[in-house]
Amino acid sequence: MTRTIGIMSEAPTSAPPSRRKLSTKPHSVADRVFYGLARSAAYGAIVIVGLILVFLLMRSSSTFAEQGVGFVFGSEWSTAGKKPVLQIGPMLWGSMLVAIIGVIFAVPMSIATAYFIEFMAPKRIAKIATVIVDLLAAIPSIVVGLWGVMVFTPVAGHWAELLNGGLGWIPIFGSSTHNFQGTPFTAGWIVAVMIVPIITSVAREIFSQMDRDLINACLALGGSKSSSLFQVILPTASGGIVGGVLLGLGRALGETVAIFFVLNLSFDINWGAILENKGGSVASLILSKFGEATPAEIGGLMAAGLVLFVITLLVNWVAAIIVNLAQPWRR
């Protein structure tokens, strides 16, 4: 360094010295070990996901080979014949149906709750509500399932009966058996209870980080509270909210035990009659068939798990990307 300055001052016309190479690479052994550990942990996380995919694929490849495309789209599950027919179409569609119903119920409730906590409630109430919402996100699904089957199912059954009585002429509210236990409607509500805290906390986080000047500017220009919500807050926060909803959707698709208790699984596909007491759920199918499965069925269940995993991974991947884009302050 000093030498460089010396040369510069003595002979300013000579060629400029070569630039010193700046490097941020760790140079001591201990640092390399430290960063190596961190890197291997990070790659370890990737490896775990990879291993899950590889092992499920290994165990289910024979099922995929035997059943073909019918595995995903067909609707029959029988091990009686010489060659078992394993198809999960109704379960896959049922998982999606329940998740969609849950999201439809959960989205308005979550956004309203987040708006209430962030913009309407007094500080103290808002603080308590935030804690409660975060706590509820951690309530185990088995507890929600217990509540669902013991307390909520009769209530939801009553609502379903009323809906069917009033709007039964619309196909989706129709019911051929008038048995309102174990319907996708009930399962959708249970899923909604589980994902409301997730969507609420994402939406609340985004609302709380919003630039208040934008909202104040809208109000100062003569906007009302509602126009500031619909024309300023929601458009600004939409990316994050969509991401939060997708996170909730991912959780809803993979929900296992809670749905296991409140939904009546049926291989007779239910396209959208949400008050019919037959539905499907891949995760619950795995749980219910697992105990007394034949080896061939185990392969089928592995394949079902693989399909479920790929779908939820995709949904969550997209959700994570959207949430990250919508929260630049987290970078």
Binding site: A42, A138, L146, W147, V193, K225, V257, L287, A320
Partner: protein
């Protein structure tokens, strides 16, 4: 503002010294003795009070009078009445603008109350039903010789509590260092794949729990021919716990001011010592919070344990054998629909809920007493 005022007054000074005082006085405008927005407005208060009570009372009266179903009355009677009343009040007080605001308030309060009622109902039923089964012997005894119809005075969840603590403890031992190192990778290094790793870890948080169980089952029980065992359950919990730990740890490491790290590095500390002696102590409580939240995430996981552990009724501390756990205990007793067995399930659910709540309270206490505690939302820019 002050600058502008000064410029203005300087300009004025050169033109006409007499007006000098005027702009300065503007800043010192006396505060009104009575603040207009705080003046009580009895008509307005009455209107708001009327609009928020009459529809409810009317709906209740009509419901009782004609014995309408409460759910129907709520949607078809109370909500429309309330909307009409609020629109009337809003329009009357604030003009046209008040109309849409009234609707907004109605829907926000309606939906949030609905969420509140659902969630309170959930917690309330667990607490009330669970307390019926709760006693010291319920927490301490195990499940040997207990049938679904055995009276609640015998047997309990002691073995399941022990099993849960051991299995979750074992996964915590593995997952917390792993998760913290992932967080270190995301915050302390500047490597390219960070974005991808962060996205993947977030995507992992949606991993269906039953798939985690299937993975361990297919890899170790079918693949290697191992028997059901407690440590396999711990293994299945790791991928479920990792995303939570990594994300919370990342956030708490990020809250440590960059100047602290730079200071340590400028003093000549190698990166690992800067981390161990400066960053880690500063983020300590955040990392503890990460651990606690991770534990809370997996403590009630059921499906992975059903697929990998197999329930037992006796107390065991040998993790190479099948073990009981609280979630599987609940699962086992919901399946029998006898009253006593359902009571046992409620009791165990209350124990789980208490464990989760205690963990959450701990997490909040830890993260409150500390520099890295989350600051109230700062304004961006």
């Amino acid at each position: 503002m002050t600058n502008d005022a000064k410029n203005l007054s300087d300009e004025n000074a050169t033109v006409n010294p007499a007006t000098l005082a005027a702009p300065l006085e503007m800043g010192a405008l006396p505060r009104p003795a009575v603040e207009p927005w705080k003046v009580p407005n009895p008509t307005r208060t009455t209107k708001v009070a009327l609009a928020s009570t009459i529809p409810g009372l009317l709906a209740i009266a009509l419901t009782l009078l004609f014995s309408i179903d409460p759910a129907v009355a709520m949607i078809l009677l109370f909500l429309p009445l309330q909307i009409i009343a609020s629109i009337w009040a809003g329009r009357n007080i604030y003009g046209k603008k008040g109309q849409s605001d009234a609707l907004l308030v109605i829907f926000t309060v309606f939906f949030s109350t609905f969420v509140g009622v659902l969630l309170v109902s959930l917690i309330w039923s667990v607490v009330v039903q669970g307390l019926k089964a709760m006693s010291w012997q319920f927490i301490s005894q195990n499940n040997i010789y207990i049938t679904p119809t055995t009276s609640l005075e015998y047997g309990g969840v002691g073995h399941a509590v022990l099993g849960t603590l051991m299995m979750v403890g074992l996964s915590t031992l593995v997952t917390v260092p792993l998760g913290i190192m992932v967080a270190v990778y995301l915050t302390e290094t500047r490597e390219k794949p960070r974005g991808a790793v962060r996205t993947l870890v977030q995507a992992m948080s949606g991993l269906p729990s039953v798939v985690a169980g299937l993975f361990v089952y297919s890899a170790l029980i079918v693949g290697l021919g191992l028997g059901y065992a407690g440590w396999l359950g711990s293994l299945a919990l790791i991928p479920l716990m990792l995303p939570t730990v990594a994300r919370v740890a990342e956030e708490s490491l990020r809250l440590v001011p960059q100047e602290l790290r730079n200071g340590a590095l400028a003093l000549g500390a190698p990166a690992y010592r800067a981390f161990l002696q400066v960053t880690l102590p500063a983020a300590r409580s955040g990392l503890i919070t990460a651990m606690i939240l991770g534990v809370a995430r997996v403590i009630g996981e059921t499906a992975p344990l059903i697929l990998t552990v197999n329930n037992t009724n006796s107390t065991t501390v040998d993790i190479s054998q099948p073990m009981a756990a609280l979630p599987t205990y609940i699962f086992q007793f919901i399946a029998n629909s006898y009253d006593t067995s359902v009571q046992r399930a409620w009791g165990a659910a209350l124990v789980v809920l208490i464990l989760v709540t205690v963990l959450f309270t701990l997490a909040r206490l830890v993260s409150r007493t500390n520099v890295t505690a989350k600051k109230p939302s700062k304004k961006r820019k």
